[in-house]
Amino acid sequence: MAHISIRDLSVEFAIYGTNARSLKNTVLAQATGGRVMAGARDVVAVRALDHLNLEIADGDRVGLVGHNGSGKTTLLRVLAGIYKPVGGQVTIEGRVGTLLDPSAGMDSEATGLQNIYIRGYILGMSRQEIEANLPDIAAFTDLGDFLALPVKTYSAGMAARLTFAISTAPKADILLIDEGIGAGDAAFQEKAQRRIEGVFARTRIVLLASHAESLITRFCNRRLTLERGEVVGDVPLAQAPVPVD
């Protein structure tokens, strides 16, 4: 069973080399964003997550919503183990997979096929796993012989299909997704959504940060609203298929 338990989680960013006072005034004047505190000397500390408590159970498809800077991405990065907390504790049961920036680690000079391997290794897949997934990835991208050409010769849509296909290949118990799933033309959007459904069906817990309400109502069974690094809303959503045991 996959499970995430978050207790009293706090995350702070220290911003260096700025005039603390003026930045503080500027940020406080805005309604959105994390809490800005005047730190020592010239350092401004932004509290991105503030004593957050959360339980996510097996089968949860959580849609994370909130303003820009409300802490959605920060929360996903903490769960991925990228950002370390300044306080609190997170206990995660299960293997975590991420879809934060699908193009991180891609090399536009290398061929499509080389990129499948590079990105696969980076996502923690073994050579055997990548080879086993290769036909599926290649079929989804529809790139055919283009896979033997450098990625920089691709159109934006072709590159998007490739990054999407690779990023959705690894298997995980818990999947963290940040924004923009799917790009490209309408036909691809539909295909991408079907692939996402497949990924969701084999994943125990999904956290999806998005501004697109349609995505959240389609895929999620729980909506979490974040504001200034705190959970301000947590409502169950009518439906969304839960994996069957």
């Binding site: 069973m1 996959a2 706090s10 960013f13 220290a14 080399g17 097996d58 990065r77 903490v78 769960l79 991925a80 183990g81 990228i82 950002y83 370390k84 907390p85 300044v86 306080g87 609190g88 504790q89 997170v90 206990t91 995660i92 049961e93 299960g94 293997r95 975590v96 991420t98 934060l100 920036d101 991180a104 680690g105 090399d107 000079e109 290398a110 080389q114 590079i118 290794y121 980076i122 996502l123 298997k171 118990d173 497949g198 084999r202 994943t203 125990r204 994996p243 069957v244 045991d245």
Partner: protein
């Protein structure tokens, strides 16, 4: 497709605890986890070297060629200037320049290893130290290409290595351990204090002239303090002497071992302290 029950049973075995109190220990764990990912960083390093010379006729042999030209030019100019035998000067300069380049490019590239991989660090959950190991592996690959020059010089002057060559192996291990901690320390400090890369680049430039890389100690009446206490001199000594058929001085072994112990311990402490903040600093 993996069926759901199988996924679930695998999930039970893997529990991750992320806690603010455990951060320092995670720093040490990160180094070990990074080292274990050698299939990843060695492949990425190889890929990077290959990509740099894609579509060029000689490929990575350009590395060898450009350093070879530099060594040959230096060697002939210096042997002419100081009326020395080219058969002695050239191997000395070749080895000096090859290892100087390995050491200093590891440190110089170390300064940008976290900063330059910002997008990577913030979006891909990998041990941070992977980026350091990848950079070191890349420099080792380049070094291997440069060692062709050493072999060429030996063949050209008909020099045969002797039993002292054995000392090269412990010497090179010691050399790389020191290069690694220097690169990691440079990486951590540069990420937090953005003036450090410039400072390091300038210090290295000056130290180049203070270190017997292309000039020899034999041309001086006695050993000046800037050589006796120069870590770069002692690091070069333990790899250069064996390759030239001499046993390295005991004082150099002692200096390098001491440097490795102190340097590794200090860098480990630094990494444990800074580890949790690096993703925020990049």
């Amino acid at each position: 497709m993996v069926d759901a029950t199988q996924t679930a049973s695998k999930a039970a075995a893997r529990i991750t605890v992320i806690s603010a109190d455990a951060n320092p220990n995670q720093g040490t764990a990160d180094l070990i986890a990074g080292l274990r990912l050698y299939p990843l960083w060695s492949r990425l390093a190889l890929h990077e070297v290959r990509q740099r010379f894609r579509r060029s006729l000689l490929g990575p042999l350009w590395l060898t060629l450009s350093m070879g030209i530099w060594v040959a030019a230096m060697g002939f100019v210096f042997s002419a200037l100081f009326h020395q035998n080219a058969g002695q000067t050239l191997p000395y300069i070749a080895i000096g320049v090859i290892f100087w380049s390995l050491l200093t490019s590891s440190i110089n590239e170390g300064t940008s290893v976290f900063i330059g991989n910002e997008g990577f660090i913030r979006n891909v959950p990998l041990p941070l130290s992977v980026h350091v190991f990848r950079m070191l592996a890349r420099n080792l690959i380049i070094w291997a290409f440069n060692m062709v020059i050493y072999v060429a010089v030996l063949v050209f002057f008909g020099i045969l290595p002797n039993a002292n060559l054995f000392w090269f192996f412990p010497g090179f291990a010691l050399f790389m351990i020191n290069a690694a901690w220097m690169a990691l320390a440079a990486a951590i400090l540069s990420t937090r204090f953005r003036d450090i890369p410039q400072v390091i680049a300038n210090v290295i430039q000056v130290v180049f002239f203070l270190t017997p890389v292309f000039w020899s100690l034999e041309s001086l009446p006695n050993r000046p303090a800037f050589v006796v206490f120069n870590p770069f001199y002692h690091l070069l000594e333990v790899v250069r002497a064996p390759l030239l058929g001499q046993a390295p001085a005991v004082s150099s072994w002692g200096f390098d071992i001491g440097l490795a112990v102190v340097g590794v311990a200090a860098t480990l402490l630094l990494y444990r302290r800074a580890f949790a903040r690096i993703a925020y600093w990049v």
